[in-house]
Amino acid sequence: MITKQLLKINSHMQIAEDTFEVVVQSPLAKELKPGQFVHIALPNHMLRRPVSVAGIDTQAETFTIIFKIFGEGTRELSKYQAGDTLDVILPCGTYYPIDQLAIDQALIVGGGIGVPPLYYLAKTLKENGVKVTSVLGFQSKDQIFYEEKFQVLGDTYIATNDGSYGTKGFVTDIIDEINPTFDYFFSCGPTPMLKAVSHQLAGYNGYISLEERMGCGVGTCYACVVPLKQDPKQSKKICKDGPVFSANEVILS
């Protein structure tokens, strides 16, 4: 059940340029599923920051988040240290419905700060015996994280916008190139990437995870809606009905 907790940070470290991995202690860690997010309060900020769950450790009762410094709030979060307390609402939102899907082979397509939830997903898929191919995009070499961790789970391809590592260009260039086989694709990243990927993989079944500026993060304020393809006058809330949607359910803008 969704709840607000004060949680201790177990570790806090920089893993790439402006990018931090934080391990948080919580008895609810095991309830967090791939695709869900936590909603983090920051002192002197009116609004919480949504950050995806990048992994859990059931034994240790911890979960991991990975975030990149984007504005004021993430900058503040980057200054936290092990031992500090985080005010978190969790679990938030929906998850990739992998238990209900018959999957043998999965294609993971992530960009930037869309990569963290996909790591948790890929790891879970692999544990379920699914063959995983990962295509990950970053701005530049310095921003890459978790490459080795993805490689352990299956074939992993990296694109960088500036060509400083891997393929120069976008994840869609790699997908064109490697022409992967899969039953389902799972994607998370900036909206332009999601649009390109959804377009490229239009014939396939897939799930995408969306971002939007949030007010409440729990479904009351209607800040985070996304219109539905079926009827653009209807919408769903990204914080509550999402962030995970079937790739052809919503209109990306």
Partner: protein, 302 residues
């Protein structure tokens, strides 16, 4: 310590309710605590038909505040009556429905529909939403329009009507008088102030609607001032709101003249803020020498 407060048609166990638009129809906050702890619940605005609202982004963060331009998204009054309000029956908390519209006719239509519901205790007439092109705020900035819509809604309602005033006016007392003359049972004040934030990277307003309503602690001094001024001029019940996040804030609103208060934006920061405030209120009242909530109302006037 008695936290009870009496307003026309409302007998509240305590003066604290979530503000309209910041609590949906209650369901989402029900896992966090027992909604029966609340003095009342102001639910999200209802319009005649379903509204999709504004494009996203709909919110932005500001210094000690936020901007929103939801645009009154709601499934329409009939669906609200059928699908949303029944959920709140199981709680021992009066529900205040928020009535919005683009025309006097729409306000009256929504009022008539709600009048048939047994799940509410009062209406809040929202003539102050700054985030819709038509209707809403022009009713809240023109005394004669405000008077007219209040009169018509009052006529159509058996429930007490609280008129929610816009702070985007030069003279709040004039607005308060206009709606009081038209028969308003009480006032809700204040709604949001129109504001804007510009995204430096994108070189355009962050909110897709360009402007949004400013809420949160940033606007509290404006809310306190307006309530104080109206209380000086008029003898009418006031539900006060604007930037409340602590029991001390509630006391400040009571001293200014509010009979009850609503908490909006603070719910987003802390979903438990309402029960926490209610819990703290007795000791804060005691600390400042008050015997009850009603004892404090209006006591900041000299």
């Amino acid at each position: 310590m008695s936290l009870t407060t009496r307003l026309p048609g409302l007998m509240l166990n305590n003066p604290v309710m979530p503000a309209s638009g910041c609590f949906g129809f209650g369901k989402e906050y029900s896992p966090f605590y027992d909604l029966s702890e609340l003095g009342a619940i102001n639910v999200k605005a209802a319009t005649g038909e379903a509204r999709f609202g504004n494009p996203t982004p709909r919110v932005a963060e500001t210094s000690s505040g936020m901007l929103n331009a939801i645009g009154l998204q709601n499934p329409g009054v009939e669906k609200i009556i059928e699908e949303e309000l029944p959920f709140l029956r199981s709680y021992d908390t009066p529900v205040i429905a928020n009535v919005a519209g683009s025309t006097v006719e729409e306000y009256v239509k929504v009022t008539k529909a709600l009048n048939r519901s047994k799940d509410i205790a009062a209406l809040e007439l929202n003539i102050s939403c700054p985030n819709v092109k038509e209707g809403g705020v022009q009713f809240g900035t023109d005394p004669s329009l405000a008077k007219e819509v209040t009169y018509k809604v009052k006529e159509a309602s058996d429930y007490p009507v609280y008129v929610k005033l816009s702070p985007n006016v030069s003279n709040i007392v004039e607005m308060a008088k206009a709606v009081a003359d038209a028969g308003a049972d009480g006032l809700s004040m204040i709604n949001t102030l129109t504001g804007m934030q510009i995204n430096l990277k994108q070189r355009k307003p962050i909110i897709a609607n360009k402007t949004g309503g400013l809420s949160g602690p940033a606007i509290k001094p404006i809310a306190i001032r307006m309530i104080y001024e109206v209380r000086q001029a008029l003898n009418i019940s006031i539900i006060g709101m604007g930037g409340i996040s602590t029991a001390e804030d509630v006391l400040e609103f009571l001293l200014a003249g509010a009979n009850a208060v609503a908490v909006g934006t603070a719910n987003f920061q802390n979903p438990l803020v309402c029960p926490e405030i209610i819990n703290d209120l007795p000791s804060v009242l005691k600390q400042y020498g008050f015997d009850s909530v009603e004892d404090a109302i209006g006591k900041g006037h000299v």
